[in-house]
């Protein structure tokens, strides 16, 4: 159905068009309500509780109106609510951040617009806002599961529109029909979607998308014994890795994220509290000389989930070529922008290459520094060890043996420590997890005069056979030590391996998983049901599917697009692509415009009628409109009066049209008349162009 509102001069038979005033039947109304519920439930996680309450109230109001309990509110009431809501939003925008404020505003507009459905235009606007809300929900979650939910939501939204059009065809009571129609429509749009997805140029946005002010997840820049326990409760995905060659053994999968060199007696932290900008600026001033790499590299692709932090995960010694990733002197990786969307990067790691064969004095001092008067017992122990052994490696072995032989235990629920005292852990409780062991070990090493530091990151990962990749979850968070040995550089020592070798050999044991599951309160998380074999299989299949989705759909950026198009069509540049797309879109628009025009003037009209109608619309543009019941001659007189420039030619055009259209003429009679008519039409068009409005 085509809606022509601008051309009032030619009022095409309006018998089948929809009247401008809006009269929805109840089927459409209820479907609309359902679609709104679905749309809001998808964005719910991002909305504050007062906004949710407001939305619930408005939806209840709307259903009460539908049920006939209330009347529609007058626009004044809506206006006041809108103003109040906007004020509330403005007040809370400080804490929400720009992006979330905008999302709130959108949701607010969406729910208020429902109460103000008067015209057809209002209805279209409402549907459009709903679809836009759906699209903006995609900013916050891009997983396959969420995308499927979104597609369902879009289906419902489109079916509302569908039922709206259907109700003018016949009196519709059936809910399944619009749903079916919308599903068909969506299916038909799939090929176009795929083509656009592959080909449409992914230009950088013209403006900066405001960042979601979301809580940072994952590892933090400080760590104290007991901290990682919070992470271990969570079974959220952190990143996935697929190796393309030289897959290392499981116990080599130490994904380094942060190097913590500062110890204040309670917690370990990153070297000074410098911001990322400072770190980057410093790097530019003092570029690092990297160690020459040795051996073969292990190449793998990492797809990191959003953490809203800058730290990336890699095996040592990592080399990356992506521009937005920099390598820090401690061999960790950092992105210039925080990870707010799923991010993919490729790393080549040289596992055999030593880190920092030489250590300057400043660095050495930093990695030996210990605050006074903390953990005196450990300090004393270190000194006896130092007295006993001169060889650094012997001291390390001795400590590891100590941990192995004494009654240390690995548990996710360690007894609490007073003041984070490592003494208390090492000599009394002797139960803890990685951070306890790494902290104590590093402390001992430093006290014994061996440069040492704590490294946090993730250990191991779950191998997915279907997709040939590793998934690393939050509960894989790990902390270990690195000690610097002359001639070997930084060497990784994981004291946790001494107390719980299976943790680093196979990852979480089933006993640990049960512990972890008990800590995790989310009953819908499939991770908690690993012990049920078929469910675990099902979970892995789902995970593999999500991995492919993340890798190929979410990770399809402009670089990949260009690679793909280059492979298919030969040389392709971004601008070439953009130009071709712009041309394609322009031609489609032109085609739509032309068909729209020719639909306005029905295609089966004879030429003279088309010409006459075109002339009418041209005249209407100049302000002279034909009233429907006006006769052709009367109108020609009117044109003669108001637009004398075209008067004569229009009169002749009108007369020839009348003859051609209404007289019974033979083909021979028609021919010369038509020639004249064409001539008059040309003349008319030429003349009307010279008239200004």
């Amino acid at each position: 159905m085509i809606f022509n509102t601008h051309n009032k001069a030619i009022k095409v038979n309006e018998v089948k068009t929809i009247p401008p005033s809006l009269a929805l039947n109840s089927t459409t109304h209820w479907l609309l309500l359902v679609s709104q519920l679905i749309n809001f439930s998808l964005i719910m996680a991002q909305l504050t509780s007062w906004m949710l309450a407001l939305i619930a109230l408005c939806l209840l109001w709307q259903s009460a109106i539908l049920a006939g309990l209330f009347k529609r509110p007058v626009s004044g009431v809506l206006f006041i609510i809108a103003i109040l809501g906007c004020i509330a939003l403005a007040i809370s925008s400080q804490t929400l951040g720009l992006l979330l404020t905008m999302v709130h505003l959108l949701a607010f507009a969406y729910v208020l617009k429902t109460l103000e459905l008067k015209k057809r235009g209002d209805f279209y606007q409402l549907i459009l806002i709903g679809l836009f809300l759906n699209a903006s929900a995609m900013i916050f979650d891009q997983s396959l599961a969420f995308a499927s939910l979104l597609i369902f939501a879009i289906l419902v939204n489109v079916s509302v529109l569908f039922s709206f059009f259907l109700l003018h065809e016949n009196n519709l009571q059936d809910y399944s029909f619009p749903l079916k129609g919308a599903a068909k429509l969506l299916l038909q749009s799939i090929p176009l979607t795929i083509i656009l997805f592959i080909v449409f140029p992914r230009l950088a946005p013209f403006w900066q998308v405001p960042l979601a002010k979301s809580a940072k997840t994952g590892l933090s820049e400080q760590i104290a014994p007991g901290d990682i326990a919070q992470l271990i409760k969570s079974s959220d995905l952190v990143f996935r890795v697929s190796f393309s060659n030289n897959t290392p053994a499981f116990n080599q999968l130490y994904w380094r994220a942060l190097v913590l060199e500062n110890y204040d007696g309670k917690q370990w932290s990153r070297l000074s509290e410098r911001s990322v900008e400072d770190v980057l600026a410093n790097l530019e001033l003092n570029p690092i000389n990297y160690q020459a790499t040795q051996g073969e590299s292990t190449v793998y692709q990492v797809i990191a989930e959003p953490s809203y932090q800058h730290w990336l995960y890699a095996l040592p010694v990592a080399q990356v070529t992506q521009a937005q990733i920099v390598m820090l002197p401690d061999y960790t990786l950092l992105t210039k922008q925080p990870i707010t969307q799923t991010m993919s990067y490729t790393v080549g790691s040289y596992l055999q290459t030593p880190m920092d064969l030489s250590l300057n004095e400043g660095k050495k001092a930093r990695n030996l520094a210990l605050p006074e008067q903390v953990n005196p017992k450990l300090r004393a122990k270190a000194q006896t060890l130092r007295a006993q052994y001169h060889n650094d490696e012997a001291i390390i072995q001795q400590v590891l043996n100590d941990i192995r032989q004494k009654s240390f235990s690995y548990t996710l629920k360690p007894p609490p420590l007073i003041n984070n005292s490592l003494d208390q852990f090492y000599f009394e409780t002797r139960a803890g997890f990685c951070v306890h062991y790494a902290s104590s070990f590093t402390f001992l090493m430093r006290a014994a005069g061996i440069p040492a530091r704590v490294v946090t990151g993730y250990m191991g990962g779950e191998y997915n056979r279907n997709g040939n990749y590793y998934s690393i979850y939050q509960y894989d968070a790990h902390a270990w030590s690195e000690v610097w040995l002359a001639g070997k550089g930084w060497v990784r020592v994981d004291p946790t391996a001494a107390v719980s070798p299976e943790r680093v050999e196979q990852g979480f044991s089933s006993a640990l998983f049960q512990q972890q599951a008990a800590l995790n309160t989310d009953i819908f998380n499939l991770q908690n049901y690993r012990h049920i074999a078929w469910l675990n299989f099902f979970r892995q299949q789902l995970d593999a599917l999500d991995y492919q989705w993340t890798r190929w759909v979410i990770g399809y950026n402009n670089k990949r697009q260009l690679d793909l198009l280059n492979r298919w069509f030969g040389h392709f540049s971004l601008w070439k692509l953009a130009t071709i797309m712009a041309l394609a879109i322009a031609s489609i628009l032109l085609w739509l415009w032309l068909t729209n025009r020719s639909q306005k003037i029905k295609p089966n009209y004879p030429l003279w009628q088309k010409n006459y109608l075109t002339a009418l619309s041209l005249l209407a543009d100049k302000g002279v409109q034909k009233v429907p019941q006006q006769s052709f001659d009367e109108f020609a007189e009117q044109v003669m009066k108001y637009l004398p420039k075209v008067g004569v030619s229009f009169k002749k055009l009108s007369q020839t049209y009348k003859k051609l259209h209404y007289q019974a003429l033979s083909a021979e009679e028609k021919q010369p008349l038509l020639a004249k008519h064409r001539q008059y039409f040309k003349q008319f068009k030429r003349q009307i162009k010279t008239i200004k409005k």
């Binding site: 009022k11 029905k602 009628q609 109608l613 034909k626 009348k658 007289q663």
Partner: protein
């Protein structure tokens, strides 16, 4: 031939002053073989118009004044026993004429009205079981007073539908009224001569049928009628008979305009007269509602789009 029509029109216009459109519509109605209903206040010249038409067209003319006690037999005739011949003899009523003027038709009882209206459609009457054909041509020109007048029986829609057109003369212009007061109008009625012979009239009626109506004209007429059949239209829907009447009247109008084909303006010219009494119903008939209903329809469609 066309000059005859214009001579006839000119002659009628010497009697009915300043009403060129109305007289032309009345003539078009008769040329299209339709019956004519003239509705107006008393004293507006309804009867004069009917008489002028009859005289000008050279038709045998009868007039019946309808009253509430008029019986069907008074219109169609009755068989009366003739003692001298010892047989019943049919006394034909005024209906056996070429042009019947049914004056103030809505003052008669429905029984009498329907006796006349049946004859209008069938062109025959049955008296005592014997069917009598009415003369050819057969026209009825009925006049009626507005419904709000005392002692009127409204014509049912089905019977209104039998009239091709309903026209109103309306008040004359100041100029015309002065001429009437000077005695220039009515007085000349007796001087009118027949302009057309019967044969010429029949030929003209045949010519109306031969007028060409393009397909787009038919679509236009149908489109107009369809509008009256929409659910949200407040008047009565137009029947196919009404659509046919519109086209036929338009053809007659085209003939009077000396054209061999119908133009949309012909449709527009006759549309109100042909449809107004069909669209409106009952007591709002006398208001301008019927008029505005048909105009509403005309305003919604542009003939150029057909």
């Amino acid at each position: 031939m066309e000059s005859l029509i214009h001579a006839a029109l000119a002659q009628i216009n010497t009697v009915i002053l300043g009403k060129k459109t109305e007289t032309q519509l009345a003539l078009a109605c008769l040329l299209a073989k339709g019956h004519l209903l003239i509705e107006d206040l008393p004293g507006m010249g309804k009867t004069t118009l009917a008489q002028a038409l009859a005289k000008t067209l050279g038709l045998s003319f009868q007039r019946v004044q309808f009253t509430s006690d008029l019986l069907p037999a008074d219109v169609v005739g009755i068989s009366i026993y003739q003692p001298e011949e010892q047989a019943f003899k049919l006394h034909k009523g005024p209906i056996f004429s070429q042009l019947l003027l049914a004056d103030e038709i809505n003052r008669a009882s429905p029984k009498t009205q329907s006796a006349l209206l049946e004859a209008m459609e069938e062109k025959q009457v049955s008296i005592d079981g014997v069917t009598h054909h009415l003369p050819e041509p057969f026209f009825v020109i009925a006049t009626q007073n507005p419904l709000f007048h005392a002692g009127t029986y409204p014509l049912p829609e089905s019977q209104l539908d039998r009239f091709m057109m309903r026209i109103s003369l309306g008040f004359p212009s100041v100029e015309a009224e002065k001429q009437i007061l000077n005695g220039q109008g009515n007085g000349q009625l007796s001087n009118l001569k027949a302009v057309l012979t019967l044969a010429q009239l029949l030929t003209l009626q045949q010519q109306v049928n031969n007028i060409y109506a393009a397909d787009s004209i038919l679509s236009y007429v149908i489109g107009l009628c369809h509008l009256s059949r929409e659910a949200d239209f407040s008047g009565n829907p137009l029947s196919p008979r009404a659509a046919k009447a519109v086209l036929q009247a338009a053809k007659a109008w085209a003939l009077i305009a000396q054209r061999d084909h119908v133009l949309p303006e012909d449709i527009q010219a006759v549309f109100t007269a042909v449809t107004q009494h069909r669209l409106s119903s009952g007591f709002n008939e006398v208001s301008t509602q019927g008029q505005s209903l048909s105009e509403q329809i005309l305003m919604q469609l542009d003939a150029a789009t057909f």
